[in-house]
């Protein structure tokens, strides 16, 4: 089925690229969505089977795949809205949809890959397709964002490749040359530690470009800022998940080797620095999309802290990153409407949102509660579990520092959101405000509600899947 999925997606992508007719475009997009949903359902029913030698639908892959499918449907819908109210350039539209299809396909394949090299190839493909999406508006600022994104991601991917080479050195001594994750976990205690350390440093640094941690987070900020809002939603939710999957799988390997605590220290430093960076920038940022991007960095840091702490933290980290994907994509979808009303992304030009778009502003308010992890949002549960695991693992100093940072972030985030929602806008021309249909905010309510549901009262299958995903970590 993976082969059918990849071939079908390739054909649909090619069709989208060469076709200029609107109706066929939409038909192909709907066909792709159907293919994606079918693929997800099939893989869920065939848990843990290996297909084509390199793809196996293990629990983590299924969870991420379901998240991807759930987000891709509103992404396509909002892309349709986004592209339908500009003066249409069929060629640009074709590139946009083709790139989006390729991004979703590459992400699905990367989630399911069970061999580190195949994972690497598909992550490289996501860089390519994401950059086409970022460049959609084709003005100098988006060119700058695309160039920075491509360059930093190219260097990061090269670093991951160097890490894979060091890993093969380590395996060489253990007498095998199979780089699949199953073999790596099995051989983890015997691997040469020097090479394993180097491999971990390089792979971790490389994947932080996708996940959004120090040191390579910079690419993502500009990318999420410049990409069109539906694409930005994908970049800050499911693309971050592929970084998480890469780091998580390698972390599982490290945790079964003697270098577990050393790896924990490395990740701890990166996560703390990320939350610090997010705090600093959130207090001074004026562009709403960049604010969301920095908030993503903060959440990635918190999820990594869960991994470091262990115990219940493993469960909480996976839960956090899934729920964060839903919440952040809802924000970015809503951003499209904000931009259409105020024609600007700066917080100074926006205000009094309740007057112009009631449903949208409800989304923003509920989203604010979700993103800053206030009850009853799902992220509250996952953050509480992460704090508890940090406390139980005797990282009390880290916990206090993180709570301090989070307080500052809540203040900064709240200051900007309340300015958007309640204060009057400065210099806004009220005559030509576009009317947004309330139905367009439905997808965001659904996503936010899903985050609440999965946090407060998750279905048993969901909990089982997460527990199965973390089973290889030392309990």
């Amino acid at each position: 089925m993976t082969g059918i999925y990849l071939a079908g997606a390739f054909v649909i992508g090619g069709g989208l690229l060469i076709n200029r007719n609107r109706a066929i475009n939409y038909l192909l997009v709907i066909a792709f969505l159907a293919l994606q949903i079918g693929f997800t359902v099939y893989e869920y029913q065939h848990l843990n089977t290996i297909e084509l030698g390199y793809f196996s639908a293990d629990a983590l892959g299924i969870l991420m795949l379901m998240t991807l499918t759930l987000i891709s449907v509103p992404a396509m819908y909002h892309s349709y809205i986004y592209l339908s109210d500009k003066n249409d350039n069929p060629r640009h539209r074709a590139f946009y949809y083709a790139a989006m299809v390729m991004l979703l396909t590459a992400l699905s394949a990367a989630y399911l890959a069970n061999h580190i090299a195949v994972n690497w190839i598909f992550v490289e493909l996501t860089t390519l397709s994401a950059s086409v999406l970022i460049y959609h508006r084709r003005n100098p600022n988006s060119l700058e964002g695309t160039w920075k994104y491509i360059f930093v991601c190219a260097i990061s991917i090269t670093l991951v490749f160097i890490g894979i080479l060091f890993l093969s050195f380590a395996l060489h001594q253990a007498g095998t040359d199979d780089l699949s994750f199953a073999m790596l976990i099995k051989k983890a205690p015997e691997l040469n530690q020097f090479w394993l350390r180097l491999a971990f440093i390089f792979i971790f640094t490389g994947f932080t470009a996708k996940l959004g941690l120090v040191p390579m987070y910079t690419a993502g900020i500009d990318a999420k800022d410049k990409a069109p809002s539906p694409a930005g939603a994908l970049l800050s939710s499911v693309l971050m998940n592929v970084g998480f999957v890469g780091i998580f799988r390698f972390y599982t390997v490290m945790s079964n080797s003697p270098l577990h605590s050393w790896a924990n220290h490395v990740i701890l430093i990166a996560a703390l620095l990320s939350i610090f960076v997010a705090t600093v920038y959130m207090t001074k940022v004026k562009n709403i999309k960049r604010m969301f991007a920095y908030s993503s960095i903060e959440h990635a840091g918190i999820a990594m802290l869960g991994l470091v702490a262990g115990g219940i933290g493993y469960y909480a980290a996976v839960l956090h990153i899934i729920l964060h994907a839903f919440v952040k994509s809802a924000f970015f979808f809503q951003m499209g409407q904000i931009y259409r009303i105020y024609k600007s992304k700066s917080i100074y030009d926006a205000g009094n949102y309740f007057k112009y778009n009631l449903t949208g502003s409800m989304v923003m308010l509920l989203g604010f509660f979700s993103a800053t992890a206030m009850p009853p949002a799902g992220l509250f549960i996952s953050e509480l579990l992460i704090f508890r695991s940090l406390f139980e693992a005797n990282y009390l100093a880290v916990l206090i520092v993180v709570i301090l940072f989070l307080t500052i972030i809540i203040w900064a985030f709240g200051k900007n959101i309340f300015k958007l929602l309640f204060s009057p806008a400065v210099g806004l021309d009220e005559t030509n405000i576009e009317k947004i249909k309330p139905a367009e905010s439905l997808s965001q309510f659904f996503l936010l509600g899903l985050a609440v549901y999965l946090g407060l009262n998750p279905p048993q299958e969901f909990v089982t899947l997460i527990q199965e995903a973390i089973k290889n970590l030392p309990q």
Binding site: W120, L128, L143, E144, W147, A154, T158
Partner: protein, 209 residues
């Protein structure tokens, strides 16, 4: 014989740190491509012939011919000036590059593995860090791309160290190289040259907080 070629490769790295003109960078990159061709030819004797032919073709055709030609075309088309415009004087670059090489020597003493040849490790990592250093200390955007190509060369050398047992990794390295050159160079330098009048990294400072 590979040791000789690797030492000559390191001398070319030192020369890269004191070069002034962009054309010198391109010539050194082409020369490094030829050296890598030699090393690949001698080292990878145990993989099958088709794979070997592909690797050799890629080093000569891509690294030594196509990429230098493409870089020269981009420089001419965008009328980029000759100087490499470093932030630090070349003297300090030379000292830093020499200390990078010394640092890699010292690091390689910590390797307890006897099956991997240490000189590959030293040369590959020095190339990697020299490439990163070139990216960080040069103003022009085209020198960023050249620094990335130097990193690519380093990755290729590292992959040759295990090339005999795992030829797939060498192929993946080549895939990365082709991806980088086609994508980075082909599409975006041309676009950047058209839109930004002065291809300076100073122009890329609009997206900030």
């Amino acid at each position: 014989m590979t040791n000789v070629l690797l030492i000559i490769f390191m001398i070319s790295l030192l020369y890269l740190s004191i070069a002034h003109q962009l054309l010198t960078y391109i010539k050194i990159l082409a020369f490094q491509g030829v050296l890598l061709f030699g090393i690949a030819f001698i080292e990878l004797s145990q993989i099958n012939v088709v794979n070997l032919a592909f690797v050799l073709l890629e080093t000569i055709a891509f690294k030594a011919l196509a990429i230098p030609f493409f870089l020269k075309y981009v420089i001419n088309k965008n009328r980029i000036t000759r100087d490499a415009e470093p932030f630090l004087p070349n003297f300090i670059s030379l000292i830093i590059n020499t200390s990078i090489i010394i640092g890699m020597f010292v690091l390689s003493n910590a390797i307890a593995d006897s099956t991997i040849s240490k000189i590959y490790f030293v040369v590959a990592l020095s190339t990697l860090f020299t490439g990163l250093y070139i990216i960080v200390t040069r103003k022009k955007i085209i020198t960023h791309v050249m620094g990335y190509l130097v990193i690519e060369n380093g990755v290729f050398i590292l992959s040759l160290a295990v090339g005999n047992e795992m030829p797939m990794l060498v192929n993946m390295g080549i895939l990365l190289d082709i991806f980088a050159s086609v994508f980075l160079l082909g599409i975006f330098i041309n676009k950047i040259g058209d839109i930004l009048k002065d291809v300076d990294a100073d122009q890329l400072r609009h997206l900030r907080d």
